[in-house]
């Protein structure tokens, strides 16, 4: 219908007014044309930007999204993953990548693809951008390959994503304990490459593949020596122990290092093979091998035991070869190239081991480092390569040396101390000589022959005294216990010492001396005194000390029994002659433990000693010992009074208190001559002596007082610190005169009634409590 109508419309009837018809197409049709053109142009540019499609085979393709994941080449988006498929066996992932046209050259044989994933480890942090942008496929290409569209991806990201023209070399060693992919390789401290892989070669030996950066390739030459630097190195050497951490990077795996120690060699090619040395020292020891045979090589380790020359390491034991026919072991030694020419035919090699003997400690450093081999260069010119090694000689103390310029001294004692040959003889702490031998003297008594260095000859006087220095000395004094070890060498053996006490006498002629037991004994040179004891238990000749105010001032020289008493002969150190005056008091101090306390506890360890108090009379020789509590021995100033009582339970040591405050002590308890009264000596401390007046009243206070009442039992314990009771006194106000020291007071058995109970506590007066 409409066609017909249109047809009718087109037939113009004659005579009708018709709008002028424009010939051709309306300009309005420009719009769809433009639209077509724009659309076509857009699709065409889109199509043009598309490069070829490539297929990459991966073992796994984590984080690869079709339509999203980008293929990056040098950081530029070179394509997009369009599809991800699995192959028929489900063994591979095939990723189809739509390349951009400008990246079409990537579709060539030799291009390597890998998946860039974030790797965060101590060793390396890579692919950080993939954390934000997701994993991507990276490419690296070699120019000039044939066009290709199927590729096999790399299993791991390469270490050097851009430069493919690096040098790849191989390092071999018997075992490669650490090092791994990514371990840095240093040349003189500069990081020049990385370990690419750690694998096995055809023979099954471990092998490390190392990549040297392109710009550092000429650092490697045929003379390069590679060595491993462990993550941390603890090196002990005589005098120092050091812990080395080469670099933070190498903290986990250690690192590799190389250098050439001689002249540089020729350039190397790819896949050159080098020997990996365990450490730098081994790398430096590259001289020609020399062979040394030893009887005993225990402790020597190939690759570790060093060869030293005058204490400096100059080489390394590289191999140990037992030679069964000779029952010896042959060491292959390589010296540092600089020292290799020193190995001439008359060179000597000696094993140095730790040597602990009475003569001293030798080679102590080898305790830590293991034995080493001392190398002594010879004087000959002819180089040698086969040697017979020596075991370490027992280095004697150089007797011959000492005889040349020493003076022999004969020392005797009734009983020789345990002193071995080689033991030191000290003078004021310096080693002045050595013991040479122990022998039986001409008169049959044991003797020690010692050599004194010539520098100390002037100290050998007629009154020089020798004494034994024990290995360790236990010093027990009042309030102090000290262990003294004179010196490390003396720890094993002890020694002797000598000195002159008092005025030096004339030089000795025959040099025969007696050995004293101890320094105190040697130094006690005063006129001897004799002290009689009722009981000599614990007294030791030569050991038991005399002490004045706690300070050793002499020594008991001899103890013997005389007329049912013990007589001790003692000598004082110089300067303590005042103790030899008549009136001096001596008492044996023994440990005493009772309810009143513990006394003389130091004697439990150090043995008994004799406490001394000086007298004021003429010099005397014979003394009688007094009990331990003798007043003069208490060494405590005080104001003494005497308390008399018909009977009392108070004993020496009981406190004397005033108003419940201890102000003194009962120091002795005696029976009067007629036996009817008891005298207590009390000492009031000086600062409280003015409390004692002529009208003071003294009474006993029992320890525990129990009152049994109708409803209660009251137990009063004035003081638990005085279980044996105590003496209390009170001085009424006014009226009393000062008393002289030694005055006698009567001791009441109970508190007098007229003495106000001072101990009564005052009632508290607290105003704010009244309202209650």
């Amino acid at each position: 219908m409409s066609d017909q109508e249109n047809h009718h419309q087109d037939d113009v009837m004659p005579g009708e007014v018709v709008a002028a018809r424009r010939s051709g197409v309306s300009w309005a049709w420009l719009f769809p044309l433009l639209a077509l053109a724009a659309t076509a142009w857009l699709f065409w540019t889109n199509w043009k930007a598309k490069g070829p499609e490539i297929r990459i085979t991966f073992a796994t393709a984590p984080g690869i999204d079709p339509g999203k994941t980008a293929l990056l080449y040098r950081g530029v988006k070179a394509g997009t993953v369009s599809r991800v498929n699995l192959d028929h066996e489900l063994g591979k992932v095939i990723v189809t990548v739509q390349l951009k046209s400008f990246a079409a050259h990537l579709a060539r044989r030799g291009t390597e693809f890998w998946i860039e994933e974030p790797v965060i480890s101590l060793r390396e942090i890579t692919g950080l951008e993939s954390i934000i942008q997701g994993n991507s496929i990276q490419a690296r290409t070699h120019p000039g390959g044939e066009p290709s569209t199927t590729f096999e991806a790399l299993p791991e990201a390469p270490l050097t994503p851009l430069d493919a023209s690096d040098l790849s070399i191989r390092l071999r060693a018997g075992s490669i304990p650490f090092l791994g992919r990514g371990t840095p390789v240093f040349h003189r401290g500069v990081n020049v490459g990385w370990v690419r892989d750690k694998t096995f070669d055809n023979q099954g030996n471990p092998e490390v593949e190392v990549i040297i950066n392109e710009k550092h390739v000429d650092r490697v030459n045929t003379n390069s020596r590679f060595w491993a630097m462990p993550a941390t190195a603890l090196s002990a050497s005589p005098g120092s122990v050091s812990l080395a951490i080469p670099a933070l990077q190498g903290l986990l795996d250690g690192s590799l290092s190389f250098d050439h120690f001689g002249a540089p060699g020729a350039a190397v090619r790819n896949d050159a093979v080098f020997e990996l040395q365990p450490d730098e020292f081994a790398a430096r020891s590259e001289g020609p091998p020399v062979f040394v045979t030893f009887d005993d090589v225990s402790g020597v380790k190939a690759g570790e035991t060093r060869v030293t020359c005058h204490g400096q390491p100059v080489g390394l034991v590289t191999r140990i070869q037992p030679r069964l026919s000779e029952a010896r072991a042959e060491l292959e030694i390589r010296l540092d190239a600089k020292f290799a020419p020193l190995a001439t035919v008359d060179s000597r090699f000696t094993i140095v081991r730790p040597n602990i003997s009475p003569e001293g400690l030798k080679g102590l450093d080898t305790l830590v480092t293991g034995p080493h081999i001392a190398f002594e260069p010879g004087a000959a010119k002819e180089p040698g390569d086969h040697f017979t090694g020596r075991d370490q000689p027992q280095i004697d103390w150089e007797v011959a040396d000492a005889v040349r310029n020493g003076k022999q001294v004969v020392l005797w004692a009734d009983e020789l101390p345990q002193v071995h040959a080689g033991a030191p003889v000290y003078h004021h702490g310096m080693i002045a000589g050595r013991v040479i031998e122990q022998r039986r003297g001409s008169s049959g008594r044991p003797e020690i022959l010692a050599l004194i260095d010539e520098r100390f000859h002037s100290d050998l006087r007629v009154n020089t005294r020798f004494w034994r220095v024990p290995a360790a000395l236990l010093n027990v004094g009042p309030g102090a216990v000290g262990v003294q070890i004179p010196g490390l060498s003396a720890l094993w053996q002890g020694g002797l010492a000598f000195d002159v006490f008092g005025e030096p006498g004339p030089a000795a002629e025959d040099a025969v001396y007696r050995i004293h037991v101890s320094e105190t004994s040697a130094a006690a040179v005063s006129t001897p005194i004799r002290i009689e004891f009722e009981d000599g238990q614990g007294l030791l000749a030569g050991k038991t000390e005399l002490r004045y105010l706690g300070i050793p001032c002499g020594v008991v020289e001899e103890v013997r029994v005389k007329e049912r008493r013990v007589e001790a002969t003692a000598r004082f150190l110089p300067g303590y002659d005042l103790l030899r005056r008549s009136g001096s008091e001596f008492a044996i101090v023994r440990p005493e433990i009772d309810l009143k306390g513990v006394k003389g506890i130091d004697t439990l360890i150090g043995g008994v000693y004799i406490n001394c108090a000086p007298g004021g009379g003429e010099f005397a020789e014979y003394f009688n010992a007094v009990p331990q509590e003798a007043p003069a021995l208490m060494n405590e100033p005080g104001f003494e009074i005497v308390l008399e009582s018909p009977s009392t339970r108070i004993d020496a040591g009981a406190p004397v208190s005033y108003n419940d405050t201890p102000v003194g002590e009962i120091i002795s308890k005696k029976l009067s001559r007629d036996g009817k009264r008891i005298f207590l000596s009390a000492r009031i401390r000086d600062e409280h002596s003015n409390l004692v007046r002529s009208n003071s009243m003294f009474w006993e206070e029992a320890t525990v007082e129990a009152k049994v009442g109708f409803f209660k039992v009251e137990i009063d314990t004035p003081s638990i610190t005085a279980p044996a009771g105590r003496v209390a006194f009170h001085t009424p106000d006014g009226g009393g005169r000062a008393v002289k020291e030694g005055s006698t007071f009567s001791l009441q058995s109970k508190q007098p009634a007229d003495v106000a109970p001072q101990a009564e506590p005052a009632k508290p007066k607290l105003p704010f409590l009244r309202k209650r």
Binding site: Q9, A28, F31
Partner: protein
């Protein structure tokens, strides 16, 4: 402007709209990058994305507003133009044209929303919205239908079939 010119313009604009409709729907309209994860979305892809993320009402809204309505507009315009000059279905045509005109006032809402999104959604590395060529074509489709509907006057529907 003569009716013939209007008719020509309408026809050419509808034709251009049909041409633009294809790139508008095939090309991505925007790139959304959220924490480095870049996504290139076509209109249909955007609808699917919305549906996938559970925003079904919004997805339906966008589907109708961005795909169905422009399509229906073009179809409707074609229908009007085809029946132009005849006297068939005139009331229906008039009704349809009115609806077309009403809906047309809202059709640019998508473009407007995208421009707002592109302007606001610039959060650096976290998120960004970048308009893509598709949106230009989409806008052109809408403009074409808009102007086509504007040039075609309702009275032209009622114009007598033959110029009698």
């Amino acid at each position: 402007m003569t009716d013939q010119t209007r008719l020509d313009l309408t026809k050419s604009l509808v034709a251009a709209g049909i041409v633009f409709y294809f790139p508008a729907n095939l090309l991505p309209v925007m790139n959304i990058t959220i924490t480095g994860d870049m996504e290139s979305l076509t209109i249909l892809g955007g609808v699917q994305e919305l549906a996938d993320s559970g925003l079904m009402p919004v997805a339906v809204l966008v589907f109708f507003a961005s795909i169905v309505i422009p399509f229906l507009k073009l179809v409707c315009m074609c229908w009007l133009l085809m029946l132009h000059g005849t006297d068939r279905c005139r009331p229906q045509r008039s009704k349809a044209f009115h609806i077309l005109h009403q809906v047309g006032t809202w059709s640019m809402i998508d473009v407007f929303l995208l421009s707002v999104l592109a302007a606001v959604g610039q959060l650096g590395i976290l998120a960004s919205v970048v308009p893509q060529p598709g949106v230009v074509f989409f806008a052109l489709v809408l403009l074409c239908t808009l102007f086509a509907a504007d040039f075609y006057q309702p009275r032209m529907i009622w114009k007598p079939a033959a110029s009698s």
